[in-house]
C-alpha cells in the first residue's frame, strides 16, 4: 500500500521536525492539561447548581467532554495542520506554493489531508480517551458489546463529518483566498462541548442539520449512555457520507479554479 507507506514517512518527517523544538513539548503538555482542567471544572461548576439538565447528569456530560477532547485531538494530530498548510494563513493557496504539490504523482486530496502531523497531540488524545474511560466508569452501568460497537461507529462518523467540513472549508479558500473559514468553524465547534439539548430550539436545529456538531459529540455520548436509537445511528452514517461526498466535490471543484500566484 503506497498510501500507508507515505503516511508512515509523513509521520517520521514530522517527528524529526518536532524534535528541533524541544521547549514546545512542555508548553504543549501545559496546554493539554489546562484545557482538560478548565473543561472538567466548567462541568463541575454547572452541576454544583443543578442536579440534571435536560436529562443529562454529570457523568454523561463528562463522557461527552471525552468525545469532544478525543475528536479535537485527532483533528489537531493531522487533519488540522495538513489542511492549514494548504488553506490557512500563508498557506499554499495564498502563497502559490500549491504548484509544487500539484505536480507530485500522488492524489492531491490525500496529500492535503495527511501531510503534516503533530505527534505531540497524541498526549491530548490520551487525555481525551482517559476522560472517556473515567466517565464510563462513573456511569455505573456496564456496557454491552453492542453499545461499544455502535459508539465506535458513530464516533467514526463524527470524525468523518469533522474532516469533511474542514475539507470543504479548505476548498472554499480557492474562491476567497485570505478568508479564514476554519476560524468560523472553530467558533461553532466549541459548542460541541455540551449536548445540543442545552441550547435553544433554533440553535439546536442549526447544530444538527447545518453544521452538525451535534452528530459529532452528542450522538456518540448517547451511544455510551446506552440510549442511542437505531435511527440516530443510521442517520449519523448517512450525514457523514453526504458530507464527505459534498466536501470532496467542493474541494475538487475549487482545485480546478486554482490559478497559482506569484510574487
Amino acid at each position: 500500500m503506497l498510501y500507508l507507506r507515505l503516511i508512515r514517512r509523513f509521520i517520521a518527517i514530522s517527528i524529526h521536525e518536532m524534535a528541533a523544538y524541544r521547549s514546545n513539548f512542555w508548553i504543549s503538555v501545559l496546554n493539554a492539561l489546562l484545557e482538560l482542567g478548565a473543561g472538567v471544572l466548567a462541568l463541575v461548576i454547572l452541576f454544583e447548581q443543578v442536579e440534571t439538565l435536560n436529562g443529562w447528569t454529570l457523568p454523561g456530560v463528562l463522557a461527552l467532554l471525552g468525545v469532544y477532547l478525543t475528536l479535537g485531538a485527532l483533528r489537531a494530530l493531522f487533519i488540522g495542520p495538513s489542511l492549514e498548510a494548504l488553506a490557512g494563513m500563508d498557506g499554499e493557496v495564498w502563497s502559490g506554493k500549491l504548484d509544487f504539490t500539484l505536480v507530485r504523482p500522488v492524489d492531491v486530496q490525500f496529500l492535503a489531508s495527511f501531510r503534516t502531523w503533530r505527534p505531540l497531540k497524541l498526549l491530548d488524545l490520551a487525555l481525551g480517551l482517559g476522560v472517556l474511560f473515567i466517565a464510563v466508569a462513573q456511569l455505573g452501568h456496564s456496557l454491552t458489546f453492542a453499545d461499544v460497537l455502535s459508539f465506535v461507529i458513530v464516533l467514526a462518523a463524527g470524525l468523518l463529518i469533522l474532516y469533511a467540513i474542514l475539507l470543504a472549508f479548505a476548498g472554499l479558500v480557492f474562491w476567497s483566498p485570505g478568508f479564514l473559514f476554519t476560524w468560523l468553524f472553530d467558533a461553532f465547534f466549541q459548542m460541541a462541548r455540551y449536548p445540543v439539548g442545552f441550547y435553544p430550539g433554533w440553535l439546536r436545529l442549526v447544530l444538527t442539520w447545518v453544521i452538525p456538531v451535534a452528530v459529532m459529540t452528542t450522538i456518540p455520548a448517547q451511544a455510551l449512555l446506552g440510549d442511542l436509537s437505531p435511527l440516530s445511528l443510521l442517520s449519523s452514517l448517512l450525514v457523514a457520507l453526504i458530507f464527505l461526498a459534498g466536501a470532496t466535490a467542493i474541494f475538487l471543484t475549487g482545485l480546478r479554479r486554482y490559478a497559482s500566484a506569484s510574487s
Binding site: 521547549s23 512542555w26 508548553i27 501545559l30 496546554n31 489546562l34 484545557e35 482542567g37 478548565a38 471544572l41 466548567a42 463541575v44 461548576i45 454547572l46 454544583e48 447548581q49 443543578v50 439538565l53 435536560n54 478568508f179 479564514l180 476560524w183 468560523l184 472553530d186 467558533a187 461553532f188 466549541q190 459548542m191 462541548r193 455540551y194 442545552f198 441550547y199 435553544p200 440553535l203
Partner: protein, 263 residues
C-alpha cells in the same frame, strides 16, 4: 510628550485597521462564542425558575453585558507587542520621537473601534432575540463607569507587562495560556462569580482576572453591593497599581537589554 504626533499615529493606525475589517470581525466573533455558549447553558439551566437569584432573562443580560465588556477591555497587546519585539519591529518604534506606548495605544483604540462596529449591532440583535431582563440598581450606573475604566486599564497594563516578557524569552506563551485559562474560570465567563463554589470564588476575589472583565457587569447588575462593592474597588485599584508598577519595571529593564534580530 508629543501629543500631536501621537494623535496622527492613532488616526493612521485606525485607518489601516479598517482595511482588515473582515479579519477583525472574525476575531471578534470567535471571542464572543465562549460567553455565548455559557449564556445558553445557564439560561437553559435556569429554565422557568432561577439559580442564585438569576432568572433566564437575568443570565441573558449578564452574559450580553459580559460580551460587551470583554470586547472593550480585551488585551490585544498580549500578542501584538510580543510579536513586534520578537520580529525586531521595536527598532522603528524606539527611534521615533514618541514613546512606544503611543503605538500600542493607537492600535488599542483602532482595534476597539473596529471590533465595536461588529459587536454592538450583533449584541443588539441577540438582545432582541433572547429578551434579557436587566434591572439596574439605583446608583449602580455611577459605579459602573469607573469600574469599567479601571477594568480596561488593568487588563491593558497587565497584558502589556506580560507581553514585554518577550524581551527575555522568545516564548512567553506558556504564561499567556495559563492566564487565558484563569480568565476563563475566574473572570465570570464559565459562570457568574457568585455562583462559583467557595474555594474557586475566594480565588476569583483575590486574583486580578475578575476585575478585568466581570466586575463592572456585577456592579451594574447589583450583584455586589455595600461592603463587597468597596472591597471590590479596593482590589481592582490595588491590582491596577501592581500592573502599572510591573509594566514600568519590566519596560525599563527590557529596553535596556533589547537587541533586535533579523532585518
Amino acid at each position: 510628550m508629543n501629543f500631536r504626533g501621537g494623535w496622527a499615529l492613532i488616526r493612521a493606525t485606525w485607518l489601516s485597521w479598517l482595511q482588515y475589517r473582515s479579519f477583525f470581525f472574525l476575531l471578534a466573533f470567535g471571542w464572543m462564542i465562549p460567553p455565548l455558549i455559557y449564556l445558553f447553558v445557564w439560561s437553559t439551566a435556569a429554565g422557568e425558575g432561577s439559580i442564585g437569584g438569576l432568572t433566564r432573562g437575568g443570565f441573558v443580560a449578564y452574559y450580553l453585558l459580559l460580551i460587551l465588556v470583554n470586547q472593550l477591555t480585551y488585551a490585544q497587546t498580549n500578542w501584538t507587542v510580543g510579536d513586534i519585539i520578537r520580529y525586531g519591529g521595536m527598532n522603528k518604534q524606539l527611534l521615533r520621537p514618541l514613546a512606544p506606548i503611543f503605538d500600542t495605544l493607537s492600535s488599542e483604540i483602532a482595534g476597539k473601534v473596529v471590533y465595536m462596529l461588529f459587536v454592538i449591532p450583533l449584541t443588539a440583535l441577540l438582545a432582541l432575540l433572547l429578551r434579557p431582563e436587566l434591572h439596574i440598581a439605583p446608583g449602580a450606573g455611577g459605579a459602573f463607569i469607573p469600574a469599567l475604566m479601571m477594568a480596561w486599564a488593568l487588563r491593558f497594563f497587565w497584558g502589556y507587562w506580560l507581553a514585554l516578557l518577550a524581551f527575555w524569552s522568545a516564548r512567553a506563551d506558556a504564561l499567556l495560556a495559563l492566564q487565558d485559562t484563569l480568565t476563563f474560570l475566574l473572570a465570570g465567563q464559565v459562570a457568574p462569580v457568585m455562583l462559583l463554589p467557595g474555594g474557586i470564588r475566594a480565588l476569583a476575589t483575590v486574583l486580578p482576572f475578575r476585575y478585568m472583565i466581570s466586575f463592572p457587569v456585577e456592579v451594574l447588575m447589583g450583584q455586589v453591593q455595600g461592603r463587597a462593592l468597596w472591597q471590590g474597588f479596593a482590589w481592582q485599584a490595588g491590582w491596577l497599581a501592581v500592573a502599572v508598577i510591573l509594566f514600568a519595571l519590566v519596560w525599563r529593564a527590557g529596553v535596556r537589554q533589547y537587541a533586535a534580530v533579523g532585518g
